[in-house]
Symmetry: D2
Subunit: 341 residues, 4 copies
């Protein structure tokens, strides 16, 4: 039985607590730490079988019984807490992104070296039933050699300007998931990125220095081309689709909805909107990623998304940001060189 400590009891922290309680037989949440822990959360955590709650996450670091830590705190703390956990000899599951600063991710990479500890980054969409099946279809050779990869990723509602200011920008905050997805589907890394973007959804996002609509073109190392289209607001809900076109055909996945009800009347034939909220769409994927993390520990095998998988999308995000600013294609090699890697 793996004893787990969870740092951060916000929305995602609670999802993981629930997953471990209900789906992962080999693990138990011993301690939940959150500096803003409320009595309600404490009661709820107890009802989910959590042994202990605290405002100080160092209790988790210092508890020799706890062998695995889930970092669900705010993004700016991810790399620092990762380092502390690794130094305390604990396996780490860290929400995305590890950091926006490549140097800090490199510190985590170095800290991990030789420890044998497992490290997994929370790119949950890889575990979504649709994307997982798409990747298997492509990896199984059903579309032949991939030539064009298309990802549509649109949020149901724009973030607040306050959030935008601290988010690192759309490419490190939102597109980063799609950068991971394009690596997952292509089975290789990106070489070059070009961004065409605009501020169309909310002027306040532009005033906060960011864009809200983007078309990102990529050249992948295997020669395939890829394109991601993003919007911070889709009136019909959370839009998460992908398509892989290759020498033998095309595979695609569409959105999920609450039911398959189709209503035909004098106005037309109407079906339900896609699920509106990312937690609805990806709830099962969150459960699967944690199961895989615990399995990697129990069976002493590689996690499905290691620290390198945390680094690469950040490099892509930085290339996208630069392309956006300088209005030209930017290679990943240029970013690597700049970062002195």
């Amino acid at each position: 039985m793996i004893k787990v400590g969870i740092i951060g009891a916000g929305r995602i922290g609670k999802v993981h607590i629930t997953s471990i309680a209900t789906r992962v037989a080999e693990a138990r949440v011993k301690t939940v730490a959150d500096p803003f822990l409320t009595p309600e959360t404490e009661v709820w955590a107890k009802s989910m079988g959590v042994e202990h709650t605290t405002k100080d996450y160092h209790e988790i670091m210092n508890d020799p019984e706890i062998s695995a830590v889930l970092i669900c705190s705010s993004t700016d703390t991810h790399s620092q807490i990762s380092l502390e956990a690794i130094r305390a000899g604990k396996h780490v599951f860290c929400e995305k992104p590890v950091d926006h600063d490549v140097k800090k991710i490199m510190e985590v990479i170095k800290a991990l070296e030789g420890t044998g500890l497992k490290y997994q980054v929370g790119f949950n969409r890889r575990f979504d039933h649709n994307f997982e099946a798409l990747q298997k279809t492509v990896a199984g050779g059903n579309v032949g050699k991939p030539e064009i990869i298309k990802i549509t990723s649109r949020d149901p509602e724009p973030p607040s300007p306050e959030y935008v200011k601290v988010s690192g920008g759309i490419f490190l905050d939102m597109t980063i998931h799609d950068f991971d997805m394009v690596r997952f589907l292509a089975g290789c890394d990106a070489e070059e990125i070009y961004v065409q973007s605009a501020n169309l959804v909310d002027p306040a996002i532009g005033q906060a220095g960011d864009v809200d609509t983007a078309i990102v073109t990529l050249k992948m190392q295997n020669g395939a081309l890829a394109v991601i289209d993003n919007s911070r607001r889709a009136a019909y809900g959370y839009d998460q689709r992908a398509e892989v076109f290759g020498s033998l055909g095309m595979a695609s996945v569409s959105n999920d909805s609450q039911s398959s009800v189709q209503l035909s009347n004098s106005d037309g034939v109407t079906e339900e909107k896609p699920l509106f909220f990312f937690l609805e769409r990806y709830m099962d994927a969150y459960g699967k990623e944690i199961t895989e993390f615990i399995n990697a520990i129990v069976n002493n095998r590689e996690t499905p998304l290691n620290i390198e998988d945390g680094l690469k999308p950040v490099l892509m995000g930085l290339a996208a940001k630069k392309s956006c600013q300088e209005h030209r294609p930017v290679s990943i090699a240029e970013i690597i060189s700049e970062e002195g890697l």
Copy 2:
């Protein structure tokens, strides 16, 4: 070049004139006869290359140049004009049904014997791209041995009570198309029919002595079961679907719409309604059936729907009518025996 005479220049007559003019290289419409011929129709017919128009269809019968006749007049004249055309040595395409009276159809059958003349009945739906492809899929063995055949057939708008009174009732007027379709898809005849019906759409239809909603269950000679559901009014348009389930799987066809536009907004995901009107849905099928009729003449081969195919659905309609009246399953054998065939 086959010279054709068309009797009846109503809606369907005009469809056939157009088809021959634009799609059938081997035939030309020489004469169109209609007792209620209007000047507008005459002008239009000329523009379609029709040589001659008349109010007296006997001109067609007496014209030795005309070798084929299309009977598009009112139902009560079909069998009589068929007899006259056969006696005049002309090939006949007759709109459905040949007659509601089995004895009159038998007269046509007898008149045809030994003449070598071609006779085709206008069950146009067999030539619809969807139903044709479904039949080929089933006949090709893709669903294995057929076990359950389902046909949905719903009109967009109910007929007038006046029409209902002279229509022969829903089973001989509307379901007769579905009786032909179930024979087409099953590849055999029906053995027994049971009707559960109701007057739900328009009380005037009930007052005219008919029903407007029906579920017709059939046992086919090959052992398959079949079910037809009919309504005289579908708020969303003309609903024409079918499904064949068998030992190896299921094949189905759905409706056509004007375009594939799909609109996703905060109300849901909406597509177009099915095409509303039978002429929109089956325009191409009307062209194909006439092409096949002319081909049968030119190549001296069997028509795809001969006079027997005109008789069988009428027997089924009579069985359905009796089942409806006597509230019990009725075998086709019982109808055959009653009719003294």
Copy 3:
């Protein structure tokens, strides 16, 4: 906290144990009883938080702490154990059917009278996301007055002849779910039933005295017509669809599949089969029905499916059986009269 006893630790018993452990905060499984309890099941039950396991279900009846019983034992024990539980003052959730013998169900009805105990029957499909949404759409008036209700219900694989012999026949074993569904969708009871059936799937089923393919036509009390088509074997998986057609339009639901992957290649455009197994398709529905049962106890309100809802489908099954045997439409009134209700 409601303490629950579960009688029968087979496939469905385990599903309910899991649901209570992971989804129902207000209840805990105290005791699981099964005469064939294996050590594996004991270990598993403990891991799910079950306090106690036993081979003797009387321990549950005699435990004053246990206020609710789930009856998941073999069908022939349902009514007897229901009576014992009611007499022991316990709320009852009973898997379908309560009994094939109407008189035994009547005994349960009488035993319940005046006790204030909750009784729920396990027609799980009402809680399926698709059927639930369809019912809401219809009940919300979106299709107007219902006129034609169609249910397709086909199992992926036929049962063994041994099972068929003790099953009560297809209408009480399999169609009974569809009888419940047609009541749910129509919002009323059936008046009359007609069966057209055949033995097409497996001759051994015929030798065991049953049919395996059926089309069941129903007249509902609200005037709507309904039709159910059943097969004991669908090569493409578990086929569970429904359609409600009414004065203003039509609403329908289709099957679920594992993912939305669509593969386009030179062979066509291929999607996944429906989920093959009823546990995959209805797992979430099983969780919801138990949640509703516990909610009914906690909030002292009516269960969504009471003992009357257990009786009605059995009456329909008996009418279907008689229609099949006597080859004629059979009214529910006739069955009620025969049973002396």
Copy 4:
């Protein structure tokens, strides 16, 4: 009655001859001219009601009875024959593109000035039932302000290297249709274009100096972003889709297939491929564009696609070509300036 001369009796010339013969009551083809006219084509043309055939198109220019000319000859002759026809006082329908050389299109523009003659360019896809409905949906405000426009355009089979050499390159030969479509859907012109492309389908295409796979990103004058993805080979047929995303939602259109047959078996659920060939997919659109051209003459109104609509996509193609060569975004203004317009 408009008398029409058709120059070029190849594949497209024949399509237009058929359309005029069967769909356009107000026009007749008087003369067909083709330097490589075969006896078979002559016979066929006569059967379609064509009065006269010749190898010398000057006969058409010199015939005062002919008021409209359709130019269906090879691309390199389009602008020269356009000029001759305009000087002869004839209305012109010209297959796309008018020319690859902007200066030559400008000559046609100048020649047209003040003549009152109608000029239409053959971007047939605007008349496709799907794209036409999509444009109407967008123009009707149903998706709000357009923000992201996506066009997928993939040919079923790559062209021969010989063709590639004289084609003007993928952007002027194939993408040019998509450039017209993006203008049609956006309702405005493009401002800037960026191309990411590759030679993945056939090395011979690369050796001929062209690419066969491309992702083209555009910034439109109304602020919307757009992306076109092209491939010269789709294993599953001719892939022609589009999607317009805006502030209120999204509208999309998919491909057409021969029938709606869906086959469910143990391998999955399979539908037909998209129509394989552009003539199958766009046959009806070809008929509509010619009808519109004749209507514009008869009613003395603007053609739906005038000479400016012929120029703009060529400017876009030149920008794309330059972007591809110089690996940077290229503005339309830059091309206009270069061309001295």
